[in-house]
């Protein structure tokens, strides 16, 4: 993969905002220091990836899991990150779940509306149409499941 070297940097504006949130008000940061912290963060990502990957390999798994990442923080002597990370992960899972629920809810609604519309349109040819609608309903539900598998 031929990526440009700047792709390995994190966006400057975001990094600056995170730094500003961390340091007391009224303290400025020099450009040099900012770039150094940004670079350090990129190195941190690489180092943590390597540590987490080692944990995954040790567990004979090919995919790095969130637990691997969190456990790698202890190896890197950033134990203080473990608790906040667990919390964030919990929140993230909740968020994903509510998103998924909302999406499936919406799909159901659309399907029902389509079904009632189809029913009212084609009142005469009842049974065959209803079977069709039933078949349509099954496929999107299956596709939702496969998408969630990919996510996990």
């Amino acid at each position: 993969m031929a990526e440009r070297p700047e792709d390995l940097n994190l966006p400057n504006a975001v990094v600056t905002r995170i730094i500003k949130d961390a340091i007391p008000e009224g303290v400025n940061i020099s450009k040099e220091a900012r770039l150094a912290i940004s670079k350090a963060a990129s190195v941190f990502v690489l180092y943590a990836t390597s540590c987490a990957n080692n944990l995954a390999l040790k567990g004979k798994r090919k995919t790095i899991s969130a637990t691997d990442v969190i456990n790698s923080m202890e190896d890197m002597e950033f134990d203080q990150f473990v608790e906040p990370l667990k919390q964030v992960l919990e929140e993230y899972r909740k968020e994903q779940k509510s998103k998924k629920d909302a999406a499936s809810e919406r799909k159901k609604k659309v399907k029902e509306e389509e079904k009632t519309a189809a029913d009212s349109d084609e009142e005469g040819q009842g049974e065959a149409m209803e079977e069709d609608a039933g078949g349509e309903e099954d496929t999107p539900v299956g596709s939702v499941v496969t998408i969630s598998d990919d996510d996990n």
């Binding site: 303290v27 963060a41 190195v43 943590a48 990836t49 990957n53 899991s65 906040p84 990370l85 929140e91």
Partner: protein
């Protein structure tokens, strides 16, 4: 009628505006005309999106929209006028958005490791947040040195002190030059 409420709320909206734009508050007649303009505009917007709603509920939803606008405006004026209150307005912000760094970029960096075969989305999220925590931690550690030497600007040399002081930062040695 609900119309009275609408007018009141819109007047509030405008009085929120008055910090930035005084011309709206010159007299009440002008207020009314702007109200009417606002109303017709938002009615047009609504009729585009929700054509089936009856008049009574229509006005109710309109007031809700106006309230939302009011909130947005007040928050934006707060940002402009009170930079000192940013620490308060930031905490709910960070709750809304779990991650501020782009996940895609984190993924790209992870993929440069030739040993990595796959990483779950959750792992990327965790690493993204960890990186944010890391940036915060290293900044907080470095600023101690800055303040100790009675400076007001965090400089590169403050970082060097931090890198030597903690084992956790040992992995950075030689990478920042």
């Amino acid at each position: 009628m609900a119309g009275g409420e609408t007018v009141e709320i819109i007047t509030e909206t405008i009085s929120q505006k008055d910090e930035t734009d005084m011309s709206h508050l010159k007299n009440s007649d002008e207020n009314k005309t702007t109200n009417l303009e606002n109303k017709s505009i938002s009615e047009k917007e609504e009729s585009d999106t929700i054509p089936a709603i009856e008049n009574g509920t229509h006005e109710e939803t309109e007031t809700h929209e106006d309230q939302e606008e009011t909130l947005e405006q007040s928050s934006s004026t707060q940002d402009q006028t009170e930079p000192s209150g940013t620490s308060e307005s930031k905490s709910p912000n960070s709750n809304e958005r779990l991650m501020r760094l782009p996940l895609s970029r984190i993924k790209v960096i992870m993929k440069t490791d030739p040993d990595v075969t796959l990483a779950s989305q959750e792992a990327v999220v965790a690493l993204c947040k960890a990186t944010e925590l890391f940036i915060g931690a290293i900044s907080k550690d470095a600023v101690v040195t800055t303040l100790n030497s009675k400076r007001k600007t965090l400089q590169r040399k403050d970082l060097d002190v931090v890198l030597d002081s903690r084992d956790g930062y040992a992995f950075l040695e030689g990478t920042l030059d």
